[in-house]
Subunit: 154 residues, 2 copies
Amino acid sequence: MTHDTKLDLVLERKIDLPVAPLWACWTRPELLKQWFCPLPWRVTEAEMDLRPGGIFSTLMRGPDGEEHPNVGCFLEVVTERRLVFTDAMLPGFRPAREAFMTGIVVFEPNGSGTHYRAAALHATAEAREKHEAMGFHEGWGKATDQLVALARSL
Amino acid sequence: MTHDTKLDLVLERKIDLPVAPLWACWTRPELLKQWFCPLPWRVTEAEMDLRPGGIFSTLMRGPDGEEHPNVGCFLEVVTERRLVFTDAMLPGFRPAREAFMTGIVVFEPNGSGTHYRAAALHATAEAREKHEAMGFHEGWGKATDQLVALARSL
């Protein structure tokens, strides 16, 4: 997977856990809800149908009751290896009215651990810059800390 | 496959040919170019990488030299059964700047023939109406006549 530095944002980390618990945290809604948003935001609802065209929907709630619903679909599901999803398409592959990003998460076994890489692909450099200004690196970093802590506890 | 009549346009036809030659006409660029546009428009260039996220690109040329490039990607490729593609995403699943439609083509064996169904899914009722006004029914109908004639000649 190569990325276009003008359009993509990438988080890469070597994690000292095998792929299985990380995959579980990414693909089981009751686990996803526990780490997917950096606190104090929380995911309060999550729906996942793990197949191409299947729904991936979350509701994020802020500390003051703000609500950010997000609905999209999965594009590729390769168990314990690769997960691709987007908000550019609704379930059943219908084009969405507005697109923000495609997410590509790759889990590569690395000895007893995992080489983990999560990328956000955007349509334009402006969308990438907006995402970076929204706090991509800090937000995805904190969420990944939460992911690792949860996976370690399983 | 059920459709939303406010958002989708559907062409359905029983064709007295087996699936194989129809599938070939849809998936081999040198064949696709011969039928995909209703004459006098022609597809002069076609690139297809038949896997999820793989390129589906065509260049349509009009009788007065007009050019309509279209680039998107495949979303599902089930040999001789189902082909899904969109212009809402570029190759590699990057969101496109603008989305017009997702195409879903289903080939169902029906005795010695094929029950053929091609649907265009849009994001909004306005996009669907625009596509209908552009001549969806006549255009896709004529192209399908060309598809059947070419498949019969193989």
